[in-house]
């Protein structure tokens, strides 16, 4: 349910649930921070809705992360695995 979608449908994965849990934020708190309704955060987390660029950037601003750290075309590896691999290097 992306606002504009033409051609082949490509998924957009996100890490919102993990980032929210890390910071102990409820969906309502995150929704308030980016000025949407809490159901929209739930829909984003479930992959039922793809955000507009504006909403994606507002979400990234809340977590202080670049867009590619929060949204990706490929499924994310678990954050702990990724951190452990970086630590190994």
């Amino acid at each position: 349910m992306s606002p504009v979608r033409r051609g082949k449908e490509l998924p957009i994965y996100n890490r919102l649930q993990v980032l929210r849990a890390e910071r102990g934020m409820s969906r309502a708190a995150l929704a308030e921070a980016v000025e949407v309704n809490p159901q929209t955060i739930g829909a984003l987390e479930r992959g039922d809705h793809y955000p507009s660029l504006d909403l994606a950037m507002r979400l990234c601003a809340v977590f202080g992360l670049p867009v590619e750290a929060v949204f990706n075309r490929e499924p994310f590896t678990p954050l702990s695995t990724q951190v452990y691999r970086v630590g190994e290097r």
Partner: protein, 187 residues
């Protein structure tokens, strides 16, 4: 400047009204939690379709002498339609009927989609009403019968956005309604 003064008064009155509506929506969104499932909403949609079928069937069987039993069936169907649409509007939130200012991008997208479907359906139903009127034009009581049929189809067509929303929306997720001060239950 007086014009600017009126504009700012209008803007603040509008903002206050939207805030009031938003507060009201915040209250209604938590009402009837047991009914906020797709299954229950679909049952209401089915009941509404039954009511609409009652109205259309009554319109088809109306006689020129204003048969009150048939009119009663039409009104019964309308009552079922009114109750089910009101219930569905409460259960589906503000997407079907709320102001654009209250909706975020996902909700606007839903609203655009359901209203497009609603408009197309209503246009098709009005075409049906027009053909029906042409067919009965020379029969006695055509005006009354045509008006009842058109009203039945108009009421049904006007409800289509709410019906589509009620049918398609997934079950409500209780986590969506956890208050900010409750924190994340998974955290």
């Amino acid at each position: 400047m007086p014009g600017t003064d009126y504009q700012s008064k209008w803007d603040s009155a509008k903002a206050a009204h939207v805030a009031r509506l938003d507060r009201w929506n915040g209250i209604t969104v938590r009402r009837f939690p047991l009914w906020r499932t797709r299954r229950r909403r679909r049952a209401l949609v089915a009941l509404h379709l039954f009511g609409a079928a009652m109205m259309i069937a009554a319109s088809l069987s109306l006689r020129p002498d204003r048969d009150w039993a048939v009119t009663g069936r039409w009104l019964g169907g309308a009552a079922i339609g009114a109750v089910t649409v009101t219930a569905l509007r409460l259960l589906t939130g503000k997407m079907a009927s709320g102001f654009g200012a209250l909706l975020d991008e996902r909700e606007r997208e839903w609203r655009n989609r359901i209203h497009y479907t609603g408009f197309q359906t209503l246009a098709a139903l009005m075409l049906v009403a027009m053909i029906y009127l042409l067919l009965i034009a020379r029969q006695p009581g055509a005006g009354y019968r045509g008006a009842m049929m058109m009203s039945a189809l108009l009421i049904f067509g006007g409800s289509v956005p709410t019906l589509v929303l009620g049918w398609q929306l997934p079950d409500d997720d209780p986590e969506d309604f956890a208050r900010s001060d409750e924190g994340d239950p998974d955290a």
